[in-house]
Symmetry: C2
Subunit: 353 residues, 2 copies
């Protein structure tokens, strides 16, 4: 492991990186072990031009249209947390994976796996939350499925949402398009979602509650695209956080990324919970933040457009893309040091989404 993170902020890595011959929690982290599982198990089997891009969605051609297509399983625990629940998370997460292709989200499906004995009232709360999130995002849930497994064979409720969106711009937005000289823009303060979940689990009794940032980002993305800027990469830094998302982009684009720690905002109560739990906010999941990588010359107008949206009011340039054959993500720290930020190696926060 090449990370030089100080101990307090080192992502927990209690598991062997290779995972042996069994699935470990780290394989679901969205970090290095997930990437290893994908590389070992899924890519060799299904290799095709769409999957191989390793974006959070596929953009496929159908009858002359470019469609974005994305799926996510949600297994978050607890199901209800400050700022949201599994239902809102599932809808917004899928909308965001369409949005980060620059697509206009159109239709969603939802598949529920319920545990025998799950309270119908809780299901109704989740469904009401999905309804509200879908209505807010302007998408229709048009098809679904429900399965029930015996008690003890699931954990209340899992939801898998899949989305279809229409790509109406001519740009190729993908993790392999970052170029030296590009600016890295982040839409707001980080680590809210992950820390809201952890605080809810640990019942920390915080004076200032930490709430999830779950939100749909497609209007923010539409605003960015409407500037006419050349947009190279868009990502919502969920599992594995900003550090992992930028590592994926650096590797796919074969570039380095230098981050300015002073520019990366973390709300005070969120920073407090991170320090309490010994977690680095750069590795913590967000569910309503956007990373945009655009040519430096376009950064000002992209920022201006983002500032007009509630989800982008605090957007800032937080870093730059540089030439680097080693594809490293380097943090220039507040105290003037430089720290290599690797992908999240193992599991930091299981079942965060």
């Amino acid at each position: 492991m090449s990370s030089e993170a100080p101990a307090m902020f080192a992502p927990a890595c209690p598991l062997p990186l290779d995972g042996g011959d069994r699935i470990l929690l780290g394989h679901g982290s969205g970090g290095k072990m997930t990437a290893e599982l994908i590389a070992r198990c899924f890519l060799p089997a299904f290799a095709n031009e769409y999957l191989d891009k390793l974006d959070d969605q596929a953009v496929v051609a159908v009858n002359g249209s470019r469609l974005a297509f994305t799926t996510d399983a949600y297994v978050v625990t607890p199901l209800f947390f400050p700022g949201g629940d599994i239902g809102a998370l599932a809808v917004n997460g899928t909308v965001n994976d369409l949005a980060t292709a620059g697509a206009r989200p159109l239709y969603l499906s939802a598949a529920f796996i319920l545990e025998e004995g799950f309270a119908l009232g809780d299901l109704e709360r989740i469904v009401a939350s999905m309804r509200a999130a879908a209505a807010a995002a302007g998408v229709l849930l048009v098809t679904g499925d429900t399965k029930v497994v015996d008690r003890g064979k699931a954990d209340g409720c899992f939801v898998t949402t899949t989305g279809i969106g229409l790509v109406e711009h001519p740009q190729q937005i993908s993790a392999d398009r970052a170029r030296p000289g590009d600016a890295v823009i982040l839409s707001g303060p980080i680590a809210d979602h992950g820390m809201a979940i952890m605080a809810a689990r640990a019942d920390l009794g915080l004076e200032t509650p930490v709430t999830s940032d779950t939100a749909a980002l497609h209007r923010l993305v539409a605003g960015v695209l409407a500037t006419g800027a050349e947009v190279h990469c868009l990502r919502d830094p969920t599992r594995g956080g900003v550090a992992t998302a930028l590592n994926e982009i650096a590797r796919r684009s074969k570039v380095g990324i230098v981050l300015d720690e002073t520019a990366i905002a973390v709300r005070e109560p969120v920073r407090g919970v991170c320090e309490l739990l010994g977690l680095d906010p750069l590795y913590v999941a967000n569910e309503g933040k956007l990373l945009a990588i655009v040519p430096e010359a376009d950064a000002a107008r992209v920022l201006e457009a983002m500032h007009e949206h509630p989800e982008g009011r605090d957007a800032r340039v937080v870093g730059a893309v540089v030439e680097d054959e080693a594809a490293l993500v380097v943090l220039e720290t507040t105290v003037g040091g430089r720290r290599i930020m690797d992908m999240l190696p193992g599991e930091q926060l299981p079942r965060i989404c």
Copy 2:
């Protein structure tokens, strides 16, 4: 409950129909309790012209194209069974839900929920099986997701597959389109899948093994459409079996359906297991059978086309659509009696798919 099924063949119904305030296994049966859950929980929240049709897929308009869109969660146990596994089932099931809209299947997504400790070798077997099924069906798996939950919070491996297909014919194929005078065509012998699963679970030590019929039906459907016949309804009778699928059609179309028991084939070893377990094959899941409802005048050419495909070699007319305000499905039995076949009331075979 209006069913007059004799005791031996009565679907098991150990659960109260309304389910109280908790999710019961019967809510995942695909029968009456599932319909109640959908009517109580999902339809009021998400009501829209697509979902309200209650078909196994939505057909949506995107940029001038008609797309079929469908999702299914697979929770079958055991994961590996004679004739298939959860991977083949997930791919074929999703292909079939596209096919029964008369769509050409194009792209699939897959979301895995894995239990910590699940054997990587088993995951690789499942993925290899998905790859083979996707290749055989000519579809591409283009995007996916993997989540891991802690040990004891899932049951090895759940797979949710979602599919997109292109509807290239001008017909409106839907459960509400059956008309009095239509013929009911069934593509082959029933109950193979459900009984293969039950035999595998019970380790019955059968002399003649019962194997799942899991298969992709889109080529069979394409053959039917190519005849130029007017196709009113297509269904693959999975959970809840032929009886439940026909009840859904009867209710949605506000017609009656009369079935001829002598025309409905059940392989001998399958019938044997059904009798051993006291199950009615008409309520048992199939994973590679097609129900087609077409005008009587078109039945002969549809049958002829089906006979040319391996999946439809044994296709027969098994019944007729009649006027009936009560929307009953009636079985004319081999001994000359008449039996009302209601929807599967509770849970007969949990986790069959």
